[in-house]
């Protein structure tokens, strides 16, 4: 896949290419490290998603059981009462930045209100359910965003590793060989000229003899 880049065979171009190669290697190193960090974050989030799914399911089943029990005690007007009396949560949605990857984040805030003792426990449980669901949503969204970024970073890193850097190396080698060849030709030419001058008996004669 890698071949040489078509450039003007000048020393300036060689210097430029060497500088570009140095930068490419550095960028490749940075991208590789970024990729490692992102993959680690991804794996951590993956484990988190599994745990949070279980946690949410547990919280939901226990919450439903308690809600059914309360419904039996207070009757169907319970939902209307809670809608009016229970503290309304406020969810602030923003972003979180993981190595340049923007993912959604949210913070839940509640107002403090007094409720009858039996209902207070239920509201606390409902808060736990809400927090678990928001946490799960945050983590899953982060997982998708990280996955996309990992794919993009991997593509860039592989392109640098397998195409750009070898191509630059080949071009530099080609230019270097060309310059070396030119030098050798120049040296051979100079030698021949010197020999010719010696043969003709020029100023070189006294020096060589």
């Amino acid at each position: 896949m890698s071949s040489a880049i078509r450039v003007r065979p000048t020393k300036i171009e060689l210097i430029r290419l060497r500088r570009r190669l140095r930068t490419s290697i550095r960028v490749h190193k940075i991208l590789s490290e970024r990729l490692i960090v992102l993959v680690n974050e991804f794996m951590a989030r993956l484990r988190e998603v599994l745990d949070k799914r279980l946690e949410t399911r547990r919280a939901l089943s226990s919450g439903y059981a308690r809600a059914l029990m309360l419904l039996g005690v207070y009757g169907p007007s319970l939902a209307d009462y809670l809608w009016v009396a229970a503290p309304k949560p406020r969810v602030y949605v923003g972003t979180e930045n993981i190595m340049g990857v923007k993912v959604r984040s949210a913070v839940i805030k509640y107002e403090e209100t007094r409720l009858p003792p039996g209902l207070e426990d239920f509201v606390v449980e409902a808060r736990r359910i809400l927090e678990a669901i928001v946490d799960l949503a945050k983590t899953e969204q982060a997982l998708y965003a990280l996955g996309k970024e990992i794919a993009a970073t991997k593509r860039k890193s592989k392109a640098l590793e397998h195409i750009v850097i070898p191509r630059l190396r080949n071009t530099i080698r080609m230019l270097q060989m060309r310059f070396d060849e030119k030098d050798r030709e120049e040296k051979a030419r100079m030698k021949r000229i010197k020999q010719m001058l010696v043969r003709r008996g020029g100023p070189w004669k006294s020096e060589t003899s």
Partner: protein
């Protein structure tokens, strides 16, 4: 546009964007604890929200320390193999305490595995940046 021009632009852009998630101004732990929704602004203008859970953990560790600036910066050194550095003495002390390392002051050098462990505990309170010195070398 020639191939080499595209390449130069790409490389320069990658280096320029390497630290786009750096905080514009770091805030103290006190300031963040007082905020209703703790957050900092990043250099690309986006809002980076900080988990109140992590702030509470730090609060338990260091108390109401107003000198501790967040997010804690972990500087990646491209020369080493997965080496990171914490330059601030107070931040180094806090990180050493969290990771259970002996406190030798700043700079604290961390390995990748330690950074990953730290990120698991303080995901939003830490940020990884590429060393500006390394980036400057590239631009020369």
């Amino acid at each position: 546009m020639e191939e080499r021009d595209i390449l130069s632009t790409f490389l320069a852009e990658e280096l320029r964007l390497a630290n786009r998630h750096a905080p514009r101004r770091r805030l103290s732990l006190c300031e963040l604890l007082e905020m209703e929704v703790p957050h900092v602004l990043t250099s690309d203008g986006s809002v980076h929200m900080i988990e109140p859970r992590e702030l509470r953990l730090l609060h338990e560790l260091v108390g109401r320390n107003c000198d501790l600036r967040l997010p804690i910066i972990l500087e990646y050194i491209p020369r080493g193999e997965g080496l990171y550095m914490v330059n601030d003495p107070l931040e180094a002390r806090v990180v050493a305490k969290i990771l259970g390392l002996p406190d030798h002051g700043a700079p604290l050098v961390l390995y990748r595995s330690q950074v990953m462990h730290l990120r698991r505990l303080l995901r939003t309170c830490t940020t990884i940046l590429i060393s500006p010195r390394a980036l400057a070398e590239d631009e020369q």
